[in-house]
Point group: C2
Chain length 493, copies 2
């Protein structure tokens, strides 16, 4: 009886979350520019209503009244999840949350303007405010959950993720990646850039066709364009975006593949539990593992490229017999390893170093060891050490390149790299379970792969933590080995 | 102090309304097909939350505690509006509302399928259910407001609209329109259909350009396409849609003009009161008056056509010297009067007869005088009498052509014709106030016209009823005279 009441609250939380999701998508893809203030007002109010529902005495009583013995694993997971959400919601005072919301809106708006002008100075004050407020939030959450402040922030993106898990991973990557990168740079063939008529329409139709081929069901999905590619939505209405570069279609198409990986996860979630908290995705590290599984493990594999190459050549009406559009050069374009300034454009070998840098710096700023005003200098030092690139004075391609900190996404960066590790580990388990999918992929058949992901990962929703799910699916805890093996096999074999 | 609390409730009502508006727009313009069930679930829950807020004891206390003497006219209007909304919300039991919601979703979904197949029989049962439930709702509302059941439904679209107002209007139109139509049919020149390359892109860019010329601010508006053109949104984010016919651009462009009229009203609403109930549009009759003012009074006028014709010819790259694309024939196409089956395609002379028919039939079904199963016969009788057209067996172009009844929009139809009357009456007042705008319009300058509409109508929000606003703006109550004069001047002079 009491659980029935919990279900009613869940329906409301779903409705608010659904509305907030569409409002956010619309904001990034559709909304006319002057709609921003009213949209922020409406979304802020709906968030406050969500907070009120989560912290209500009534929900507390309903949860207290539930008898675990009578409940199935989904109901138990829902109750566990709601209790955690309550704990977090009670931990952070409402006025701190409101102050954060306002600070983020201001800082992010400033960033959009200042980044274009490479103007760091004008953003320092608002970014300091964001970090100050997140320092307080991290303290509140950490105290309530009896974990460290940084772990409290990491935990808000992926439950159970801690520095104790992340640090050894990055220590090893910092030790081993630089050598791998140097070796790849020596070995790889020179890349001839692909040229042709890459109109937006043609890029979009290629992305749509291939995302469908990868298993995306457009009966319950959309693909649009936005400034930064992203994915959002729910099992019956999943939305992805990509963007365009007129001189290169690969960035657009691989952004679409990446977001398709996210969307396949969303579409694969347990449909019968879609109105429940336990029916949602595990966490953002697991989400990134799914996008990177599709983008890196599948779509940058030899087998997939053998399928993709002739179709892309036909699509853009270019000559496959030319050296430029040969399979070799096509693959070299897709797989080029390069020390570069921009994280989102980085290849899978250098990418973790970009993340490592951000992880280290955000910790230092949060702990007070590093002042926001000193971030560009620290950024430059790290970039110089890790990738031999100076970012002195180049804020736009340095500390101002990512929206994350400016929009209050702190403690998130490790998810990307831990997701990449997880993807490699999952691929190994997939081969163990269903055999080598190479021949199927070469023929453009990804059904077996997507079915395995859905059955083993997507359908589990939030029944357990990502770390437990990795253990269950692969038989071992998260490990760096699979990822490093993958890089060796793909780039140095 | 108590009013401050009312304002807090208003912020929540605004947030829910804003979200519901975007969810609905998204549903009609963007959503993938399989998203429908979850969207209905989420929207239904947010509606229930709105209902709960409106009927809450707290809001009742806050409203009781407000001291009118301390409040300005906007605050007073807000309180009046919230009290009316409470009265209506208390009048209809929650389970009846839920039953209506479900019945509408089912009936509308069936209609989409059955209409395409001209299959009336399969829709009778679900439409009977809708009318049965609306009969109950009308009774509940009527009892609570001490008005008749039909007036209660009309009142839900336009406060204060009653059969006592509507009946004399339609009596006179029924008497006078048939003669006018016959005379026009005899006098008007034969129309040569306009042919050319009317691609969707070209139609859309023409619609966008002209809507901007009419005053639509795209910094806070969008124009898209949908199955039926519509407009929605709020002062800082107003959205219109149009549709395309490949063989005629005029339908698309005039649908865009019509929706632009709605959007100008929305954009002209009092911006400082946008989060308040009194800051919203007066009602749907007033809304239709604004769309028809732009579409009929302005955009089908000689002056506007003289401006529009050469630009349209250039746009579609056709020869203005040809007889087909001459000004005369262009105008004849825009103004052709024709007895036709479909309301949305009807000209302004025959349109009121289409409305009259629906008004009469929906009253009869609601009162129990006519069975839903007998609607096609009654439809055929009326169409034959009013326009000399038989719809026997042709459900698709008869009783199944409009979404309204199938989606629970009952008591709405009179708004269209009363809106057309109001538009003509407003035009007369505009000429009195600012002089004849013909010369400005001929040069494509509508600023004076739109400023007058904004200042006199849009900015008033919901401070008073539409009937009172008409009296205030024009100096006299709603009258049929202006509309009939307008038809005589335009079509028979």
């Amino acid at each position: 009886m009491s659980y029935t009441k919990v279900v009613e609250v869940q329906q409301r939380l779903f409705a608010l979350d659904h509305a907030l999701g569409i409002l956010d998508w619309d904001n990034l893809v559709m909304m006319p520019p002057k709609g921003a203030t009213d949209r922020a007002e409406a979304a802020g109010t709906l968030q406050a209503m969500t907070h009120e529902l989560i912290t209500s005495d009534q929900l507390g009583e309903y949860l207290e009244g539930c008898d675990a013995a009578e409940l199935d694993e989904w109901a138990k997971a829902n109750i566990r999840e709601l209790r955690l959400q309550r704990q977090e919601a009670f931990a952070v005072p409402a006025d701190l949350l409101m102050a954060i919301e306002r600070a983020i809106v201001r800082c992010d708006q400033e960033w959009r303007v200042n980044r274009a002008k490479n103007d760091w100075e004008s953003n320092v004050e608002s970014l300091e405010e964001v970090f100050n407020l997140f320092r307080q939030k991290a303290k509140c959450l950490g105290d309530a959950l009896s974990i460290t402040p940084y772990d409290a922030l990491a935990n808000s993106w992926e439950r159970g993720l801690t520095q104790a898990i992340i640090d050894p991973v990055f220590d090893r990557l910092r030790r081993e990646l630089p050598d791998i990168i140097e070796n790849v740079l020596v070995q790889q063939s020179p890349v001839v850039p692909l040229t042709g008529d890459f109109s937006e329409d043609k890029q979009m139709s290629l992305s749509r066709t291939f995302s469908e081929r990868l298993g995306l069901d457009y009966g319950r999905a959309r693909m649009d364009t936005s400034f930064h590619p992203f994915s959002s939505g729910s099992v019956n209405d999943s939305r992805v975006t990509t963007r365009f570069e007129s001189d290169s279609f690969l960035q657009s198409v691989y952004a679409a593949f990446h977001e398709t990986g996210h969307a396949l996860y969303t579409q694969g979630l347990p449909i019968d539990h879609r109105y429940e908290p336990a029916g949602s995705a595990c966490g953002m590290m697991m989400h990134e593992s799914q996008s990177l599984f599709i983008e890196m493990q599948i779509c940058r594999s030899d087998a997939f490229l053998q399928f993709f190459h002739p179709i892309a050549c036909n699509h853009f009406n270019v000559n496959r017999e030319s050296q430029e559009w040969s399979f070799e050069n096509f693959r070299n374009n897709v797989r080029e390893v390069k020390k570069s300034y921009i994280r989102v454009d980085a290849d899978e070998c250098t990418y973790p170093l970009h993340v490592l840098l951000r992880y280290k710096l955000e910790q230092k700023v949060l702990s007070g060891e590093l002042r926001v005003a000193d971030l560009p200098g620290a950024w430059n030092d790290e970039m110089t050490e890790l990738l031999g690139l100076s970012t002195a004075g180049n804020y736009r391609n340095g500390v101002m390149q990512d929206t994350h900190w400016f929009s209050g996404i702190i403690g998130y960066f490790p998810s990307y790299t831990l997701g990449a590790l997880t993807a490699a580990q999952f691929y190994s388990a997939l081969v163990r379970d269903i055999g080598d999918p190479t021949e199927d992929i070469r023929r453009g058949n990804c059904e077996g792969v997507v079915h395995w992901l859905k059955h083993n990962i997507h359908q589990k929703g939030r029944l357990m933590s990502s770390m437990d799910l990795i253990q269950q699916v692969t038989g071992s805890p998260l490990s760096v080995d699979y990822f490093l093996n993958h890089l060796h096999t793909r780039y140095l074999a």
